[in-house]
Symmetry: C2
Subunit: 293 residues, 2 copies
């Protein structure tokens, strides 16, 4: 399976190769990975892996070359101790190593767990989820619990793979913006200048994007430190009030999906959410605040 | 074997553990690695791996975390296809993954091959070797062939491991400065700000070190590109004339060896060569030039 098809598989593609690969993941890859993880001397520390990846030029959303390599380095000795047909284990190792995006499958759930830890705190104005379904962009905020605030999915500005253009693009789609929600992705873009080759930004754009995000966040990560900014912690915790006050919207770097279901990724770029959900979240938080007092 | 002992093993340590490990490398590791390399779909491209490592925060001399991880990622699928006792293969994988310095064992010979390609060109003033034996620092220059120009080994400025100090340090030692000779190491320090934790430099020091090296080199690498400098190619090809004219000496980042044989590495820092060999090389080149005309 070619590298490109692997990447397409994640974004609405459903051809026979994709379905076969999903079955293989369930039947072959899952038990091998379960055994390998059990054979590790200690559980994988995904926060540390993300921190090392950020130190090595990743932002853990669309650039995962270091993360993927660091992960395989941790796992390889354990894979070699798995008691399964060696051809199966070799195929798993091959699959993990093939795409730089392997680590995204770990950085996203790790981000989700981290964001969830901030959820459901009375009065908190911090965003705990950002997600898009290709039609709507939605956020959830700590102080308003499970409720979604939504607005229309926006157009992504970026670069297209050969043969595709803006006319083919679907509006912003996917749940990977959970990485931006915890200070990675577009928020840590200054750490990953090489991602510009894919999304059409310069190293200066990348630094500017991260610096701007400090204006709408409440903290700096103690773990994700950006070498190009003198190891300053990544901007962490989007505050809906700051977004509304400044009019600065979160920077999300993302893949561009074809508007026709089944084609998959046709490029990458930068997108901003609509302002509407942030305004509505602030209004709801104010309403609750008044009701409490 | 602990990570620290592994690193010590490279720098004059000769305890029983070191000797046992060297025997193991010959008897067990060598055949496993030979089989794994033969099983790769294509030969490993060390220049590309070095280039990717530089893009990911390494300078391929004292920071090799990305290089080591990228190398293991390339090799892991092949290791799983090796026809040897699985416990041997697992031990090899464990050993490769244990130390960030694994990749130095590849970046150094790759640098040597690259430097040798520039050797023996009549009239060329480019340095093709820099090496130190703890007493003397020597260079060889393209236009003067095999001849060594030497001066006294210098003191390294840097950080010490707990329990050691300047009094314990041997003057500059080792052949790893071949990395600086081809634009890596101290010359690419701007790419590896995190190395400062080991050698006692800031991110700004690292950028400054690399920028200064452009003043004594003849080219910029087309392969090793430094993200923090807007992907400018690393300073490549030390010109002995420029060293003498400017008085700027090459920046070498390096480990500090204990002055007592057998102890090994006790710290890391920055060292500069003595000026004398560069002056003598220029004099010899001038003499040859006159003899030719």
């Amino acid at each position: 399976m070619a590298r490109r098809e692997l990447e397409l598989a994640g974004f609405g593609a459903y051809g026979p190769q994709v379905i076969d690969r999903l079955r293989w993941m369930t039947d072959v890859m899952r038990p091998v990975m379960a055994d390998a993880l059990a054979a590790l001397p200690a559980p994988l520390d995904l926060r540390t892996l993300c921190a090392q990846a950020v130190e090595a030029g990743d932002e853990c959303h669309n650039r995962n070359r270091a993360g993927t390599s660091l992960f395989i380095r941790e796992l390889a000795p354990a894979l070699l101790r798995v008691d399964a047909p060696s051809s199966d284990v070799a195929e798993v190792a091959q699959f993990l190593a093939l795409s730089d995006y392997t680590f995204l499958n770990l950085s996203m759930p790790a981000a989700k767990v981290r964001a969830d830890a901030a959820a459901g705190i009375d009065g908190s104005t911090i965003v705990t989820t950002m997600a898009r379904n290709g039609t709507e962009f939605g956020i959830r905020v700590s102080g308003t619990g499970e409720r979604w605030f939504t607005g229309p999915s926006q157009t992504i500005e970026g670069l297209y793979l050969p043969g595709y253009s803006r006319e083919d693009a679907n509006p912003d789609m996917g749940d990977s913006a959970i990485t931006e929600t915890v200070g990675l992705g577009g928020f840590a873009l200054a750490a990953a200048p090489a991602l510009g080759h894919y999304i059409g930004t310069s190293a200066e754009d990348a630094v500017r994007a991260t610096l701007t995000m400090y204006e709408i966040t409440c903290a700096e990560s103690r773990h994700f430190r950006i070498p190009a900014l003198g190891f300053r912690g990544a901007p962490l915790g989007i505050d809906v009030r700051k977004v509304v006050e400044t009019g600065i919207l979160p920077v999300i770097d993302t893949g561009i999906a074809h508007r026709q279901a089944g084609v998959g990724v046709i490029g990458g770029g930068i997108v901003r959410p609509p302002l509407k959900p942030f305004v509505e979240a602030v209004a709801e938080l104010s309403r609750r605040d008044l009701a409490m007092s």
